[in-house]
């Protein structure tokens, strides 16, 4: 049995899935929004079948709630899940940064430095959306350099809720220049092979990004799952 590479011509399902996923993560489809197979199928000018299949996928990721015979809704942000996601990310990032301090391929390091330069620009231009992307790319590059790409993928997969929360915070005027300076210090620690310092920095860095959950909940009450409701 040999698996040759799939054609990779995007199927209809894949197109719909990606588009919806993007819209949900970008909060263009806010938490709680009601969708319907028919509505989306008309919007994309396809049949209900591929739409439905993408719904199933998104539901499995926790981005949609499918209520049989009633409707489908963009899932609310569950703060307890957000906290566990943050926990997982912290542990894994700290472990990986240790590996990075031991050894890190030169090529990837250049990539990171280049990314850092772009961050500086984006901070100056106050281009929040771009900064958000660069931030993602920064962390991803560290994982990649340590041969832990799949691990980063899992974090991404897990952190869909956390990411929406972060996106809200972005809208709530986040302090990117502080983030940037932390990134700078992390890179310096890797270069100096200073494991202890890198661990300290990364721990701080990731803790910061979760400070004011309750504050967000006040600003956007309808986006969050209430602890009581299940």
């Amino acid at each position: 049995m040999v698996f040759v590479k799939p054609p990779q011509s995007a199927s209809t399902r894949e197109v719909v899935y990606s588009a919806l996923r993007e819209q949900i993560l970008q909060l263009e489809l806010p938490p709680g929004t009601g969708l319907s197979e028919k509505e989306i199928s008309l919007q994309f000018n396809v049949s209900r079948t591929p739409v439905r299949e993408s719904f199933v996928q998104l539901a499995q990721e926790g981005l949609l709630e499918i209520l049989p015979q009633r409707g489908t809704y963009v899932s609310l942000i569950d703060n307890s899940l957000v906290e566990e996601a943050r926990f997982m990310r912290e542990q894994l990032e700290r472990a990986v940064i240790q590996l990075a301090c031991e050894s890190f391929p030169e090529e990837q390091f250049i990539k990171i430095k280049s990314n850092l330069a772009l961050q500086k620009l984006s901070v100056a231009k106050q281009d929040d959306k771009k900064m958000f992307e660069l931030d993602e790319e920064f962390h991803r590059a560290i994982f990649e350099g340590c041969g832990k790409s799949y691990t980063w993928g899992v974090i991404q997969h897990v952190n869909v809720h956390l990411n929406r929360s972060r996106m809200l915070r972005l809208a709530a005027d986040h302090n990117w220049s502080h983030i940037y300076s932390q990134h700078e210090q992390i890179v310096a620690a890797i270069e100096a092979h200073d494991s202890a310092e890198a661990d300290r920095l990364m721990k701080n860095h990731l803790n910061l990004t979760v400070t004011d959950q309750s504050l967000l909940k006040e600003k956007f009450p309808t986006y969050f799952k209430t602890p009581s409701s299940n």
Copy 2:
């Protein structure tokens, strides 16, 4: 917007999905096995639609490979994924065991001790399958006691490949009595609030379970993905 509890009457898709998933994880459907929508739909006496949807779900978990217009196959075990899964699990288990040493609810602790007693029995009776289940339950209980149930769920979700690998090792006559004695020591460390010892034990414990990947690959060559392919 209020989400009341879904009916939870298992849909056809859910039934098919669960059944197939179980068969794959139990290696009743070995890696590389070819499936087909029609075949499975006849087997379950349902239409192709719910079968197809469950295929999409399983593919998203990495348990199936869907090759458009060609066929669907139970995915081969990818050793690099297994290694990263092991890495993630090690980091998260070690982090959680630290929390457990700080404080652990009495009720959960009793649960673990009871589980441990059952393990002793299963080892004596050489009931490998039961021991496999108890092992899972043991680790899950630790996460649950630390309020990290979702984290454990993610590990489970990630470790589907690792689990199949472990299942093979079980078939390959695994040393459960050694595992049991390690579990015993871990529980003792938690009880004594000995973080350092717990960390050391857990690190050893999880490393053990991954020793002989290459050995497995020799025993079951067709079950594994060759590094070259794709």
